[in-house]
C-alpha cells in the first residue's frame, strides 16, 4: 500500500477563500495602508510644527528687535531695563563647550574606532560596544551632577583659578557623552571598507597602522566625517550638563576657566523663571531656539548626505 492509500487521502480538496473573505481582505489592506501612511507622515507634521512654532514666535521677536542687532551685539541681557540681544554671546558659550568636547572626543573616538576596527580581536569589540552603549544611555542630568560635584573639585585642585562654574569641565563631560556616537558611526564606516583593500595594503608591506590611516580612513572618509559632525550636533544641543555646571552668566566666552551661558542653558533658565509669557524676554527663547535648530539642522543634513554617500560607495 502506498502512503497515499494508507493515509486515506483519496480525496483532494481545494480549499479556496470565499469571495466575501477576499473582498474583506482587500478592504482591510487599504485601511491598513492608510493608517500606516499617516503614522509615517506624522514625522513631517512634527518638523512642520517645530518650524512653525519657532518661526512664529521668532517673527514676533524680530518685529521688536532688529536682526542685525541680534547677530552682532556683544551682550545678552534680555531681562535688564535696557535689554541687549546679542545671540553671539550665547553662541560663544555653546561654541566653547562644543570645541572642548570635540577636542576630547575626536582624537579619543578616532583612535578607539581604529583600534576596534583594525586592531582588536572580535571578542574585544563584543565587550566594548555594549559598554559604550551603556555610557550613551546615562541620563544627562547625571552627567551634570558628575561634572559639578565630582570633576570640578578635582580639576580645581590642579587648576586653582578654575571657578566653580566654568566651561572646561562641562566641555570635557560633553566630550565623554558624544564619544560613543563618534566611535559607533566611525567604526561602522571603517568596517564597511572591503577587506580586499586592506589585503592589498598588507601585501605591499604596510603595517596595520599605516593601512588604517592611509587606506581605511580615506576609504571611510565620508562616514568618519559624518561621525564628527554628528558629534558636533549633539554637543551643540546638550542642555543639562551646561545648565548645571557652566553657570548662567551670559558673557562672551573667551576663558574656559570661567562659566558662561550657552543657548540651551539660557532657554532652561528662562523656563524656570517667572518671565511673563507675552514679554519680549520670553520670546527670546524661541529666537534662541531657532538659532539652535538651524545650526543642528545644518549639521544633521550634512552628516546625512555624507553617510548616504559612503553607503552607496560600497
Amino acid at each position: 500500500m502506498t502512503i497515499m492509500e494508507q493515509a486515506g487521502a483519496a480525496r483532494y480538496r481545494r480549499l479556496a477563500p470565499s469571495e466575501a473573505f477576499l473582498r474583506r481582505r482587500a478592504v482591510i489592506a487599504q485601511i491598513a495602508r492608510g493608517v500606516l501612511f499617516l503614522a509615517a507622515a506624522l514625522s513631517i507634521f512634527i518638523t512642520a510644527g517645530i518650524v512653525y512654532i519657532l518661526l512664529y514666535d521668532s517673527i514676533l521677536f524680530f518685529q521688536q528687535v532688529s536682526i542685525i542687532d541680534f547677530l552682532t551685539d556683544t551682550q545678552w541681557t534680555p531681562v535688564f531695563d535696557q535689554p541687549r540681544f546679542g545671540i553671539m554671546t550665547l553662541v560663544s558659550g555653546t561654541l566653547m563647550t562644543t570645541l572642548i568636547g570635540l577636542l576630547v572626543a575626536i582624537p579619543a573616538g578616532t583612535i578607539l574606532a581604529i583600534y576596534l576596527s583594525e586592531f582588536s580581536a572580535h571578542r574585544t569589540r563584543e565587550i566594548v560596544k555594549p559598554i559604550l552603549e551603556l555610557l550613551a544611555g546615562v541620563p544627562t542630568v547625571a552627567f551634570g551632577y558628575f561634572a559639578l560635584f565630582f570633576l570640578t573639585p578635582i580639576f580645581q585642585r590642579f587648576i586653582p583659578e578654575l571657578s566653580t562654574f566654568n566651561l572646561l569641565v562641562p566641555g570635557i563631560v560633553i566630550g565623554i557623552m558624544i564619544l560613543p556616537y563618534i566611535v559607533s558611526v566611525a567604526e561602522d564606516a571603517m568596517r564597511a571598507v572591503p577587506n580586499t583593500l586592506r589585503e592589498g595594503a598588507f601585501a605591499l608591506g604596510f603595517t596595520r597602522l599605516q593601512t588604517a590611516v592611509r587606506v581605511v580612513i580615506p576609504g571611510a572618509f565620508s562616514g568618519v566625517t559624518a561621525a564628527y559632525i554628528l558629534g558636533m550636533s549633539r554637543a551643540v544641543g546638550e542642555t543639562m550638563v551646561v545648565a548645571i555646571a557652566a553657570g548662567q552668566q551670559a558673557r562672551l566666552a573667551v576663558n574656559p576657566l570661567e562659566g558662561a551661558a550657552t543657548i540651551t542653558a539660557y532657554i532652561v533658565q528662562i523656563s524656570l523663571g517667572d518671565v511673563p509669557h507675552n514679554s519680549l524676554a520670553y520670546l527670546t527663547i524661541f529666537a534662541a531656539g531657532l538659532t539652535l535648530f538651524l545650526i543642528t539642522l545644518a549639521f544633521n543634513l550634512i552628516a546625512f548626505w555624507l553617510r548616504r554617500r559612503y553607503r552607496e560607495v560600497y
Binding site: 481582505r25 482587500a26 495602508r33 500606516l36 501612511f37 503614522a39 509615517a40 506624522l42 514625522s43 513631517i44 512634527i46 518638523t47 510644527g49 517645530i50 519657532l54 579619543a108 583612535i111 578607539l112 581604529i114 583600534y115 586592531f119 574585544t124 566594548v128 559598554i131 552603549e133 551603556l134 555610557l135 544611555g137 546615562v138 541620563p139 544627562t140 542630568v141 547625571a142 551634570g144 551632577y145 558628575f146 559639578l148 560635584f149 565630582f150 564619544l179 608591506g205 603595517t207 596595520r208 599605516q210 544641543g237 542642555t239 543639562m240 545648565a243 548645571i244 540651551t264 523656563s271 527663547i285 531656539g289 539652535l292 535648530f293 543642528t296 539642522l297 544633521n300 543634513l301 546625512f304
Partner: protein, 310 residues
C-alpha cells in the same frame, strides 16, 4: 641571497620590519589605554553616585514627598510621576513608531515623498531635546491650552523618541531573512497579512529592543520637561488610575501637574544645601539603576537575536 650581494640590505629590511611592528605595538597600546579610560569613566561615574547616594536610600526616601528640609526630602511624587509619564509615552510612541516603521520599510514606494519622510526622520533624531520642549510649549501648552500636565509630557517625550522606535522597527524588519518573506507571499498572503501574521511577530525582539532604548532615553530627559514648565516642587500625587467606582479606571491623572525624577534631581542640585545634593545623588542612583538596567536588557536581547534564538 640578498645578503651576499648587499650586506646592508637585509639589515635595512629588518630595521624596517622592526620599526613597523614597534609602530603597530605602540598604537595598540595607545588604543588599549584609551579603551580602558573610556571604560573606567563609566565605572567612576557609577561609583561616584553610589558613594554619594546609596547611603541616602531608604524606604522613607521612596515614600516621602520633597520637603524644605533636606533630611526629610523624598522622591515619591517624582517616581510616581516618572512612571505615569513613561506609561503615556510608551502608549503613544510605540504604536505610532512601529506603524511608521512598517510603512517605510514594507509599503513605501521609492519616490521623493518617501525620501523626504526618511530624511525627516533622520533629522528629527538629531534635533536637540530642548527644541521638542519648545515645540510642546508653543503648541500643546499655549496654542492648545492643554496645560502643564502628564499628558503633555507624555506627548512631548513620545515625539522625542519616535525616531528611535521607527529606526529600530525598520532595522528589525530589514533583518528578516528573504526566505521567510517569500514563503509568506508564496502562500497567498497579501502585504498586510504578511506583515501582521509573519513579519511583525518575527521582528518583535528587535522592535522590543528599540522600545526599551527609547524608554530609557525618555526616563532621563529633563530639558523638554523643564521647558513646558513643569513645576519643581510637587508635594502631591496625581489622581490614581484605579478608582472604586465604575468604570474602575480613571484617566484624570493625565490632566494632572506632576514632576519626574530627573527634574527633582536637577532641582536639588540647584539648591545650596549639601543635604539636597546628597538627595540628588540618591535620585541619580535610582535613575542610573533604571537606565543601566534597561539598556543592559536591550543589549542582552540584541545578543540573543544575533545568536538566533527562536
Amino acid at each position: 641571497m640578498s645578503t651576499d650581494r648587499n650586506p646592508t640590505a637585509a639589515t635595512d629590511e629588518q630595521t624596517l620590519v622592526r620599526r613597523a611592528n614597534w609602530q603597530d605595538l605602540r598604537f595598540a597600546i595607545v588604543g588599549f589605554v584609551v579603551l580602558v579610560m573610556a571604560m573606567t569613566t563609566l565605572l567612576v561615574l557609577v561609583g561616584d553616585f553610589m558613594i554619594d547616594g546609596v547611603p541616602r536610600l531608604s524606604w522613607e526616601f521612596f515614600t516621602n514627598f520633597p520637603s524644605r528640609r533636606p533630611e526629610q526630602a523624598g522622591i515619591l511624587s517624582a517616581w510616581v510621576g516618572s512612571a505615569l509619564v513613561m506609561l503615556t509615552t510608551a502608549a503613544l510612541a510605540v504604536p505610532v513608531g512601529v506603524a511608521a516603521g512598517i510603512y517605510l520599510e514594507e509599503y513605501a514606494p521609492k519616490n521623493w515623498i518617501t525620501d523626504i519622510i526618511e530624511i525627516n526622520v533622520t533629522n528629527l533624531a538629531g534635533v536637540p531635546s530642548i527644541i521638542y520642549g519648545l515645540l510642546a510649549l508653543g503648541l500643546f501648552v499655549q496654542t492648545l491650552k492643554l496645560g502643564q500636565t502628564i499628558l503633555v509630557a507624555g506627548l512631548t517625550l513620545a515625539l522625542l523618541i519616535l525616531p528611535i522606535i521607527i529606526v529600530a522597527t525598520r532595522e528589525a524588519l530589514r533583518s528578516i531573512p528573504l526566505e521567510v518573506r517569500e514563503a509568506a507571499y508564496a502562500l497567498g498572503a497579501d502585504r498586510w497579512q504578511a506583515v501582521w501574521m509573519y513579519l511583525l511577530p518575527t521582528a518583535r525582539p528587535g522592535i522590543l529592543t528599540g522600545a526599551i532604548v527609547g524608554m530609557s532615553r525618555a526616563i532621563g530627559e529633563t530639558a523638554p520637561i523643564i521647558t513646558i514648565g513643569a513645576l519643581t516642587f510637587i508635594a502631591f500625587l496625581p489622581p490614581s488610575p484605579v478608582q472604586e467606582t465604575f468604570p474602575f479606571v480613571s484617566f484624570e491623572w493625565l490632566n494632572s501637574p506632576f514632576t519626574v525624577m530627573p527634574i527633582q534631581m536637577f532641582n536639588w542640585i540647584s539648591r545650596p544645601q549639601a543635604g539636597f545634593h546628597v538627595a540628588a545623588a540618591a535620585t541619580g542612583v535610582v535613575l542610573l539603576g533604571m537606565t543601566l538596567m534597561m539598556n543592559g536588557l536591550a543589549i542582552y536581547i540584541r545578543y540573543r537575536i544575533r545568536k538566533g534564538a527562536g
